[in-house]
Symmetry: C2
Subunit: 484 residues, 2 copies
């Protein structure tokens, strides 16, 4: 398979918070890798912007360190890195003041594509947006990129949207959810809509249920103060799990284009029913072997915030009535794994006597670790015996067959940042989507708060509270095993 990397157009990319954690871990390594792959044109320039007083040479040192630390050694080539650093510039800036803005204005090239990455807390979004306009830095082709958390509830999300809308049109705003940049998420779109084999079966008549799991092994540790005001529902379900649910549940868009796709996702979110009290399981991790309990991490001994949540979600429309979506996400769990499982129904009738070992078809979409997609099918056990059936997984990413390119998938940030430069919003969340997801989230949160419910404790390194297993057991279903 021939690599077909087509360079994007020349651009200026400004990273506010250019010395921060996200910039160092994700944004700069991703840009380096796209540079190395030939996707960044000669005129592509990256300008770090942060409070620290330093010159371009100093920032290049920061960038070089980040690349050396967060890019795999095999790809960290000194010569490539040196050339990448030539693209790097730096401006010391006050987000809430005046320092540096004139300087930044002078460096921008107004005819090129412009992107401003707001890799800072949401409290600064308004200040940055305003100053970009005040100083006439952002032209009509400017795009801004913002990260989660995008609000804390519907009201704050609305306020944030309104703030950005003062200075930017919706088509200029790129709200990142890096789950949407995963290779397998896009392969899911190709598989669903590029084949006659799946879409006709993609409905309540043939699909028994869907599972979405995002499990982490880390606790909240240093982020306790932030996390305790958020919790698993707001921190993970409202954005990541909701986005994945939308891609599975949505109707086929007429085109794989930003508004066509996002219109369909919005319809799904609006079709979500409020969740019944007995279809929610909230948990807090206990102290483990050398690890603190959630309440200790949160610094509030009486915290009622959940570090784990499992939900049975109903999408109330013609396609999905009767086919539940089970979501779960938590911290301090047994394994770090993000996976969607589409479980088909059993054939309505078995014609074989000796069908031991057979079970229903499953499409598993693995986001991490080991991105991939496999389809479990039933075949005849090979050999001279009778008609014995056996279940086997088909690799739908062809990692082996397609060789290196298939296993060496780009990081989500690589794809998403290039999409910003290309002006393609398909894999970014629109404002109304985010608000609709908050409206549903608020309703769920308010219901348990009104009931005064406390999370149940669960063992560190487990699969979460036993109640989450029961949530499926009582429907005669079970979670796919948590493993890496």
């Amino acid at each position: 398979m021939v690599s077909r990397v087509i360079p994007v157009e020349p651009f200026d990319l400004v990273i506010f918070g250019g010395t921060g954690d996200l910039a160092r871990r994700k944004i700069l390594p991703a840009l380096y890798l796209r540079h190395r792959d030939g996707q960044i044109p000669d005129d592509g320039r990256i300008i770090g912007a942060a409070r620290s007083e330093m010159d371009a040479a100093g920032y290049r040192e920061t960038v070089a360190e980040a690349v050396r630390q967060f890019v795999v050694p095999a790809k960290c080539e000194p010569e490539q890195l040196a050339r990448f650093l030539e693209r790097i510039d730096y401006v010391a800036i006050d987000a809430t003041g005046t320092r540096g803005w004139g300087d930044l204005a002078e460096r921008m090239r107004p005819d090129l594509a412009q992107a401003f990455y707001f890799s800072v807390g949401p409290a600064l979004f308004g200040d940055l947006a305003e100053r970009l306009h005040q100083h006439k830095i952002a032209g009509p082709r400017a795009r801004i990129v913002v990260e989660k958390p995008f609000g804390h509830d519907l009201a704050s999300a609305r306020a944030l949207n309104a703030t950005l809308a003062c200075h930017f049109d919706e088509h200029q705003i790129y709200r990142i959810d890096h789950y949407l940049g995963k290779e397998t998420v896009q392969n899911l779109m190709a598989v669903r809509f590029g084949n006659m084999l799946f879409e006709p079966l993609w409905k309540n008549q043939y699909i028994d249920h869907v599972q979405i799991t995002v499990a982490e092994t880390v606790g909240v540790e240093g982020r306790g103060a932030y996390y305790d005001r958020s919790g698993a529902m707001r921190d993970m379900v409202q954005n990541h799990l909701m986005q994945l649910l939308c891609l599975i549940a949505m109707e086929p868009p007429s085109k794989f284009e930003p508004d066509a796709v996002r219109d369909e996702k919005l319809k799904v979110i609006r079709a979500l029913q409020p969740v019944e009290a007995d279809e929610i399981v909230r948990g807090q991790y206990q102290a483990g072997d050398g690890t603190a309990s959630y309440r200790d991490d949160a610094e509030n001994p009486d915290s009622r915030t959940e570090s784990f949540i499992a939900l049975k979600v109903h999408v109330a429309n013609w396609r999905w009535n009767g086919t539940p979506f089970y979501l779960r996400t938590g911290k301090r769990m047994r394994a770090r794994m993000s996976e969607i499982v589409v479980r088909f129904k059993e054939p309505p009738h078995s014609i074989f006597e000796e069908d031991t070992g057979q079970s229903a078809n499953e499409l598993a979409i693995r986001l991490q670790p080991n991105e991939g997609m496999d389809l479990t099918v039933t075949i005849k056990e090979p050999g001279p015996g009778g008609m014995r059936l056996v279940n086997v997984p088909l690799d739908m990413t062809f990692a082996e067959a397609l060789g290196e390119e298939a296993t060496d998938v780009p990081d989500a940030y690589e794809r998403l940042i290039m999409d910003v430069i290309r002006g393609n919003q398909t894999l970014f969340m629109r404002g109304d989507e985010v608000e609709a997801a908050w409206a549903w989230t608020d309703q769920v949160v308010a219901a348990w708060e009104a009931r005064g419910e406390k999370p149940v404790p669960y063992e560190a390194g487990s699969t979460g509270p036993e109640e989450a297993l029961i949530l499926m057991h009582r429907d005669a279903r079970r979670w796919r095993e948590l493993n890496t």
Copy 2:
């Protein structure tokens, strides 16, 4: 994967024509391999019966030679062969006389399963059946096995059935079509009926068409006299291609049991429409590089018998209306290949802009060479580019994943002979099926004879006459490539 070979019950198997070509090439090697695999119990005995005057020791030499010649050396182990030969006995017999029958009667063990393999011309079927009863050799548990050709037309097939019916019940008669014993044919059944993924799509709404190809590289050579009275339609389509068509087209049987399956196959044959004149292409091969023309092989310079035929067949029922089955078979073609291709329709609408290289899903069931089954699906081309789609074949037999057992599939005869001993008729043709297939065949043959049509010549080593390609081209379809 653990091999689970369960021995069959003790048996006496008599092979009439035990020194003949079929016995030496297929039946005896198959029995040796089942012996070697542990499937034949200690009390399983094989009695050759033929005209030649020799003793058991002499016949054992014949058997040993056959095994050495037609079993791959890796499996031809002297020790195993020696033990296999201990099972072998021989009776010199006159099919149309009295010699040997008393002798055979004495050797049979009436309490065991009995099978009589009629590996002789159909002209002798009646004599053998009669004598087996006259001499009280065949008990109520006796089974007889017969090979094609089973008749030449409806009238002769009926006569043959009637002859056998004088002495045997239908449940005692095993009409072999070795295509049904192929591993992949059975895997097709498992895939169709053991998964929720395929059966709902298995209809005119989702399947564009089906292709069945049985191509041979040999000519008719020494069999010219027989073949010239038969032709490709009678010799191949009436039995092999028809059986494969039935397995693809049939409704799901309620059980994978002999009569349930055969009832469904019969319904398909009875739903076949007469074939229009312009939907039949008949051909005769020309002389090739060192090979004679069909007419020379047939010894009749004016022969109108076809050595190639292609047909567009319509199954007139709710499931298949509008989805044609294209059949083709011929001799002296480019490659030796038997394959069924189920071609799905294209998705009704493409949501992707860059869908270069995409085409419809295809399930290909390869019977020879390299038995196997693959499903062509469309996925996203891996890598950092845009949403480019690419077609890739999924191996549905898991030859690699399942290791040796999957690639080392038993020969059709191995399975079918064991099925005879087990008393399982599922993979054998019932009398009414054979008659229905002849009724349809007769109609097609009569129509072209009435029109006085001559076959068109085709190049030796080609894919058959150009007209066969046009048969599909004019429907905007094409044959899958003929390759090994």
